[in-house]
């Protein structure tokens, strides 16, 4: 008889902890990657050097990596906040789009406003735009128990079509010869630069991540959230209003993803484009999962994820095909970050019991 494996939370992390696991995972990933690169006829050392230099090698590289980490981190946070309550927001990709759409809308009416006011208004609108897209699934889940995975997922397509419609239709730039382009953002709507090419989005993302981590970990609101996430019955018994919680958490999650869209719009893009979300919403699910749904872990994972993406993409200029580069990114990601997960969990098989060491008394 097959014994099914399952992940079991260790009572104590492995000796050496996550740094050690990270190192071992990275080494394994690089070894497997070396085989891949050799089989594709490349020089692994040259490729790895390039990956590192392009992502973490100097301040310019850090700037590019951090710019990438911003949408990944916010999208990851969106998923993690919902995940703290056991909810799956698979709709961050679409919420990023509606966030960017709402921010573009503000930029359209506030073209003459001073920069700071315009940017703040755009970011608030982005929060609202993302939250609005999550509102439907949130209400359906809270009132009718409709599975939020399905509804949030399906709305991604709606949001991207909405952006397409706007760009091809009412928001088409009249100066673009009928090309499907939204107009450029006003000059003052661009986020200021922090250093090199890194924009201030990293501060916004860091701030939101800190606030959310504190809220989930240390406030009564966050405590109720985590109780509801671990056991519905307990939550009900202690008088927590589950529908209300579901509603606020899912809408908040959508809002955070929407903010990612707003920051991406004001930080990176010059105008609303159909591909602005660029897969960040789906990558955010991986970020959150690798951060074990803890908002505090999202920042670290997002920077690593960003570095892997930027480094992985950069080796294409050395002649590595995009598919080999993507496979390599996956190896490094799951080797390095996935090992962190295994350092906190162990694999048990059906029938094994969760043995609690005696000295740990929880």
């Amino acid at each position: 008889m097959m014994r099914r494996p399952r992940l079991d939370l260790r009572d104590q992390p492995l000796a050496g902890g996550q740094p050690l696991a990270f190192g071992i995972g990275l080494a394994v990933a690089l070894f497997v990657g070396t085989l891949l690169l050799l089989s594709a006829g490349h020089e692994p050392l040259k490729i790895y050097t390039r990956m590192f230099e392009a992502s973490l090698g100097d301040p310019d590289a850090w700037a590019v990596t951090l710019n990438r980490a911003v949408p990944l981190g916010l999208a990851g946070l969106a998923v993690a906040v919902a995940g703290s309550m056991g909810l799956w927001n698979i709709g961050a990709e679409g919420q990023i789009m509606t966030g960017a759409i709402a921010a573009s809308w503000v930029a359209r009416i506030g073209g003459e406003w001073p920069g700071l006011i315009l940017i703040i208004a755009m970011l608030i609108a982005a929060l609202g735009g993302g939250g609005l897209l999550a509102l439907g699934p949130a209400v359906a889940k809270a009132k009718l128990g409709v599975n939020e995975i399905i509804t949030t997922l399906m709305l991604n397509e709606v949001a991207i079509r909405l952006a397409q419609w706007l760009i091809h239709g009412p928001w088409k730039d009249p100066d673009a010869y009928n090309f499907p382009l939204a107009p450029m953002l006003p000059e003052q709507a661009h986020l200021p630069t922090l250093f090199s090419r890194a924009h201030c989005g990293i501060l916004i993302a860091a701030g939101v991540i800190v606030i959310s981590s504190v809220a989930v970990k240390y406030t009564a609101w966050g405590y109720e959230l985590r109780i509801a996430g671990s056991s519905e019955a307990t939550a009900r018994y202690s008088g927590i209003s589950l529908p209300h919680k579901v509603l606020t958490v899912l809408v908040l999650s959508g809002g955070i993803a929407g903010l990612a869209g707003g920051v991406e719009l004001t930080g990176t893009a010059d105008r609303l484009t159909e591909s602005l979300s660029n897969g960040f919403g789906f990558a955010g699910i991986i970020v959150a999962a690798l951060a074990l749904m803890r908002p505090s872990g999202v920042a670290v994972v997002a920077v690593l994820f960003g570095a892997v993406q930027i480094g992985g993409q950069s080796i294409q200029t050395l002649g590595v095909s995009s598919s080999v580069s993507t496979i390599l990114q996956a190896f490094v990601l799951f080797g390095a970050i996935g090992a962190g997960v295994l350092s906190r969990y162990r694999i048990l098989f059906e029938g094994d019991t969760h043995a609690v060491p005696e000295e740990v008394n929880k």
Partner: protein, 359 residues
């Protein structure tokens, strides 16, 4: 004596430096980098550009490189271009419309690098130009072939996005169809995709089910052709000769030949006399062409198409010549009038005989 030797040495050293610096003056190697929106294996748009890159590398001996599958409107494009420039590449060719904003900004940031943008409309005065081709010419010819083989009189056109480039292609194709089959109609179905085999295949199937027996298309996959093959219908592919994907269905295709244009850009950059332009090359220039016509098409049709091709190249035939009415019967061009480039570049209406809407 000693001073003479010293002088001689000085001259030699001086000469040596002069030679070395001479060498480095023209010694800035030209290296050309290409950024593609799709994978080079798409057999369509990106594949055709990569054929052009390989051709240019062979012809000029210049080192080339590429990155593929780079999405538009994200930071990825600029990241790749900066990587290339760091490695000494000084000609950057971007082959998708959505790279335009980044190319404008990068061209300003790197004035010593030549930027050429395929399918856009912006340029500057020094180091940034754009390239495209009059694909409507071979589209018209492919329409003539399609019109000659349809029996049901309904031709399906699996179209990408309602933008002037695509609409111009549909109209030119339809006018070609009408040249050989005045009563045939072209039904347009929008996919809102450039490369999504599943959607494009399903869309082709939908028009086949309505009775279309020829399918034309404007995406980068061969999915529409595979559906036509399965249904026993015929197919006009696009971008490249895709006959291998649907050997029985394949009729012909309007195709891109980017190589010579890339050679011209790279050689101009090499000689230091690149000057930006809005290049809209024609069949006479060789940047667009018609793929070989399937062997089972009547020789009389082939002859007629070849005659029309020669007339277009000679400048005697223009697909958009009046009398020309739009879909609703309003006159667009009077008899003998030829549409100007501006009107073609911004075309947002369908000609008579097209079923569907531009929105």
């Amino acid at each position: 004596m000693r001073s003479k030797i010293a002088a001689l040495l000085a001259v030699c050293v001086g000469l040596g430096f002069a030679l070395v610096s001479c060498g480095s003056d023209d010694g800035v190697d030209t290296k050309a980098a290409f950024v593609y929106v799709g994978p080079v294996g798409d057999a369509g748009w990106t594949w055709a550009h990569d054929q052009g890159r390989q051709y240019a590398e062979e012809e000029t001996g210049v080192e080339t490189a590429y990155v593929e599958a780079v999405p538009e409107g994200t930071a990825d494009f600029a990241n790749h271009v900066r990587d290339f420039i760091d490695q000494g590449f000084n000609v950057i060719i971007g082959t998708s419309f959505g790279y335009m904003d980044d190319m404008v900004a990068l061209a300003e940031e790197y004035p010593d690098v030549v930027f050429e943008h395929v399918s856009g409309y912006l340029m500057n005065d020094t180091n940034f130009g754009n390239t495209f081709g009059r694909m409507y010419e071979p589209r018209y010819l492919s329409g003539m072939v399609a019109g000659s083989v349809t029996k049901t009189g309904l031709i399906g056109y699996v179209a990408a996005f309602p933008i002037p480039e695509v609409i111009r292609g549909i109209n030119a194709f339809t006018l070609g169809v009408q040249a050989t089959n005045p009563n045939a109609q072209v039904e347009v179905i929008w996919t809102s995709t450039w490369f999504d085999p599943a959607v494009e295949g399903d869309s082709a199937q939908a028009v086949l089910d309505k009775g279309a027996d020829v399918i034309a298309m404007h995406q980068d996959s061969a999915a529409a052709g595979e559906k036509a093959e399965a249904a026993g219908a015929r197919w006009v592919s696009y971008n490249s000769d895709m006959s291998a994907f649907a050997p029985n269905a394949f009729l012909t295709a309007p195709v891109w030949t980017w190589g010579p244009r890339y050679v011209a850009i790279i050689e101009a950059a090499q000689d230091g006399n690149y000057s930006p332009s809005s290049y809209w090359g024609s069949m006479a220039d060789g940047i667009v062409d018609l793929a070989p016509i399937a062997s089972d098409v009547d020789q009389s049709v082939v002859d007629m198409v070849m005659e029309a091709k020669a007339a277009i190249i000679a400048g005697d035939l223009h697909p958009f010549t009046g009398p020309l009415n739009d879909q609703d019967g309003n006159q667009v061009l009077g008899a003998g009038e030829v549409m100007d480039d501006g009107a073609m570049l911004g075309m947002m209406f369908f000609v008579e005989g097209v079923i569907g809407s531009t929105g």
